[in-house]
Symmetry: C2
Subunit: 244 residues, 2 copies
């Protein structure tokens, strides 16, 4: 049977999702725990290959196994075998042709910025501390230029490996809470390598008054990575959920 | 001059506030950083001697120093010398007779419980994970018995060293957010050793349906630690602020 896992993790001490020769990864921990549970080598396929230091509340992985264990119980058995910073949020059987990456999806991400005079040690693992005052309303207005179906070349890493830079963003909102955490909430059909972090880095330039609001739409139109802002650091980013 | 510091910390890796022979403490890190900054041995006095693993957004410490550095600048200079999990939120000169513990105060604490089926690795450093469903409305109603001036013997550690167990609680609220974090917010004129954690542990028993709502007032009236609930674990507790 094919099983879908919803995976949450604190990415702080991992070199991202995907198995790699040097350094611990989320996928490697999952493969190890599953192989241990079912006494046979198991490889997972992930929906979103999050970067080093990026967190998730709802990434998705699938794997195939020949087992009589009810699919819903696998989450509990797996959590016993995983480190504390990776927690399966649920497991369910899916059709054998279900593929986490080639299926039509809606993905939701949040990027969090702590914008005040001093850092907060309780928030520092999960926010980017930015001291200079940011205008979150200006950021939200500027961000609306990115909503819709566009070529996002300007907002993708130059190391992106993709056939097409065209993606659809369904919505972007920016709001500040009472602790001065500014949250950039983005939903779309899929994102390019570093796309959310470059959007965050670019909106910060607008919010800080270093660029005008219409600079975002100009950057989008340029289709040139040089025309957008820096890649904001990974710890502010959380993959919230993937809807199929 | 006497200087007041507002101190925030992630208590995870510390053996609490107060200097002790074995293990790192917040106070020791502060004393070291201040002594280094002013090139003379400096001892701080803390307002609240938080326990091992407890966090703070606004603990208060004072110290005396003979220096021409403007008091407001000390926060910045100190943060350069402190580990990342301790951050001074502000510094100001106070009268030489200002004492952080013997002054009349209002203290605010929060205790956070993650109440859902699976843990969330992004919240686990700052919440107590409790899987069994809790009724937060019942918890809030039961908690009102603790508001006012009472002898809190039943809600203090048997290791408390104090002349009087009488304290005043100004308000207690309990609410659940959209991530299923239940926050117990407590404000009072001061708290006994482990008081908030025992209140949290007791309210959890009521919320879980293991005790009736009126069990809290009965426990209070008994003036006996045996009659209240367990001490909830430290990572859920944050000292929010101390108002003088």
């Amino acid at each position: 049977m094919r099983v879908k896992l919803v995976v949450a993790y604190d990415g702080t001490r991992y070199c991202g999702w995907q198995v790699q020769p040097n350094g611990d990864t989320i996928q490697e921990e999952l493969n190890k725990a599953l192989s241990d549970l079912f006494h046979t080598p198991i490889q997972t396929m992930g929906a979103s290959r999050t970067d080093s230091g990026v967190h998730a509340k709802g990434n998705v992985a699938v794997f195939d196994v020949d087992s009589r264990m009810p699919a819903e119980k696998i989450a509990y058995a797996l959590n016993q075998r995983l480190p504390e910073d990776i927690v399966i949020q649920g497991s369910a059987q899916v059709p054998v042709d279900f593929h986490p990456r080639f299926q039509k999806t809606r993905k939701a991400y949040e990027y969090k910025i702590l914008n005040r005079r001093f850092p907060d040690p309780i928030l520092s693992r999960y926010t980017y501390f930015y001291h200079h005052p940011l205008d979150e309303d200006k950021m939200e207005r500027a961000a609306q230029a990115l909503v819709g179906r566009h070529d996002f070349t300007s907002f993708a890493s130059i190391h992106s490996q993709t056939d097409s830079f065209v993606r659809t963003i369904y919505e972007i909102s920016v709001h500040r809470d009472e602790e001065d955490v500014i949250t950039i909430h983005v939903e779309g059909d899929g994102f390019l390598y570093n796309q959310i972090r470059i959007i965050a880095g670019s909106l910060i330039k607008v919010g800080a008054g270093l660029e005008e609001e219409n600079w975002i739409s100009a950057a989008l139109a340029a289709k040139d990575r040089q025309c957008s802002g820096p890649t904001a650091p990974p710890q502010g980013l959380v993959l919230l959920r993937i809807d199929y």
